[in-house]
Symmetry: C2
Amino acid sequence: MPVLVMKFGGTSVATLDRIRRVAKRVGVEVAKGYDVIVIVSAMSGETNKLVGFVNETSPLFDAREYDAVVSSGENVTAGLMALTLQEMDVPARSWQGWQVPVRTTSAHSAARIEEIPTDNINAKFAEGMRVAVVAGFQGLSHEGRITTLGRGGSDTTAVAFAAAFGAERCDIYTDVDGVYTTDPRVSPKARKLDKIAFEEMLELASLGAKVLQTRSVELAMRYNVKLRVLSSFGEQSDDAGTLVCDEEEIMENCPVSGIAFSRDEAKMTLVSVADRPGIAAAIFGPLSEAGVNVDMIIQNIAEEGRTDMTFSCPTDQVMRAEKALSEAKTRGEINFNELIADKDTAKISAVGIGMRSQSGVAAKMFKTLSNEGINIKVIATSEIKISVLIDRKYMELAVQALHDAFELEKA
Amino acid sequence: MPVLVMKFGGTSVATLDRIRRVAKRVGVEVAKGYDVIVIVSAMSGETNKLVGFVNETSPLFDAREYDAVVSSGENVTAGLMALTLQEMDVPARSWQGWQVPVRTTSAHSAARIEEIPTDNINAKFAEGMRVAVVAGFQGLSHEGRITTLGRGGSDTTAVAFAAAFGAERCDIYTDVDGVYTTDPRVSPKARKLDKIAFEEMLELASLGAKVLQTRSVELAMRYNVKLRVLSSFGEQSDDAGTLVCDEEEIMENCPVSGIAFSRDEAKMTLVSVADRPGIAAAIFGPLSEAGVNVDMIIQNIAEEGRTDMTFSCPTDQVMRAEKALSEAKTRGEINFNELIADKDTAKISAVGIGMRSQSGVAAKMFKTLSNEGINIKVIATSEIKISVLIDRKYMELAVQALHDAFELEKA
């Protein structure tokens, strides 16, 4: 029988009633003839509670014990989901990560899946079991210890199972009904996309549209797993939600598919840096070691062997960045006159695979912002994305204006 | 290094503060030179919450899924305890049941331990780890599924580890500071016993002194594991609490070590039963099938081929017993004139291995009750125990009078 993977996030299994509701959805797919692999998260709030326990017990915790503790929430949901399905006369059983086993690296709390053996679960499907409920987010290291995959890791579990079992599709049930052209809370004209290409989804996911864990999209792209994002609470139909798929499956590409934004980006400028080979490494090495997530980097051409270096990072990492850079200066590794931190900026990005073949997208974006009187502080581009830093107070205005300019409200 | 097993119940690990308190106790034993195996229960309330989830989801649950769900509470405590010890610079790690693995039968929710391999944990002790924290109450079936050992099962886990590792002693930390001559809430003269024999503890445990799971005492007796019951909250010293041990280690045996009681015992009498071979089986077979826990049984000699049959059972099983017996009568399997249920009785028992060699204990017990004007309704005896059923309203009086008569307040 064809296999379908269905993943339910924490809000979808937050109560026993909600577990019953989503179990009914599973029942519908079983009735259609699918063997279903259900991936569950912990009931919402549970993982946060456990993480709180660990942090309070040991601020610099042993990640192996962290994983042993925080993985328990998914185990509870998996058992309860199997029981709920059994109550509906659907043959089901639960698997914890180590029972499959989901083999991972030993990078505790951020492990990567290496292998998912299928024989164990397939043998049960052959015996007539119709649903394998698997605890998401967790695996087993080579040392026989429990690992976890990082926040949002259940998405990655789901895609990895879909790839391993050759599933027809991987449905990610969540509390939103799909991927939107932008955040509907910012632009009321935001429209749900029926389809989006993996590459676009990757850019959107890493830009702050927190629908899917970035790694799950990478994995889906690599193994060409059809990924669908849809709501646990809306209507159930085969064309609900948004399908994330290969770009070949999308008939016509608009130049821009969506406008993403990130509210808390700071712009940092090192003024009058001595320009010499290796200076970028001397600046960004210490930042990386200090755990600063540098996003955009711009080097201005300057005079007399000195240059200005600008980069962006999350606002809450500004202090860490300042400390790392002033220490590097003290050690004599870099030399600059001044470090200016502008914390009142936001990042706006236009994303679309159509950009590759259609010109004028950047020009249209800049003109639109200019018409609204919005000053662009930094520009960075990739093949399918144009990002700008602007004053945070103009963020909503910029998103709405760009959404209008690229006519994203139209299908 | 000698091995010590320390078991902490749910109230002893109810909060992170309490986990820190008991971790300090573990640290003291490590400093003395012990390699310590710590067995932990779930934080109090957790297991009840999970059992509630399962019952609400599926009243006639699949016990395999029940076990998968309810075992998660112990895993959380085990990880947190290991982290707490690490914070105190004590090398520690956690083990879940399947990681040891604690091999059990497949009788889910009431599994029995079959084997505990020691190589895995001993290898870590050899590498310098000083504390193995093991999640109690759980194990692994031959089918690779998680099992649980029944309520109070962590006591049994602790004793089984002590037996497998040849531990010097198994310390059961709980919320009482030892085993008493009787319940201090009933007799203020109750005295904590320094030592008690396995056999006595077994009688007391099954008679309602709910300090230890009965099965753990049986196991300790079979493998001659020195078992100590002591409080997590009191002073820590080598002679705290009560040592449960082989009777040879107890120098002088009093005829009576303790007075146990059970408040909710009903006396059931089948009046004028046709007396024939097999009649007892015909009565107690259906009761057993109905799940009635029959305790004492007395058959009175009667006349003309008819007899009265009396037995005791917990008060809340009276209706079930009445139903089972009237159905057996309807089916023609037994014949009686009347079934009298006396629900206002309590059971009082004097327990002591000294009884074996000293006579007059029963006579003294009966005389004491008689002096107080208490009527004895049923008597049953074993080698080291005399039990009587009396009116419940005299229960406290009887316990206090017997405690005085056998001079249990004196060491």
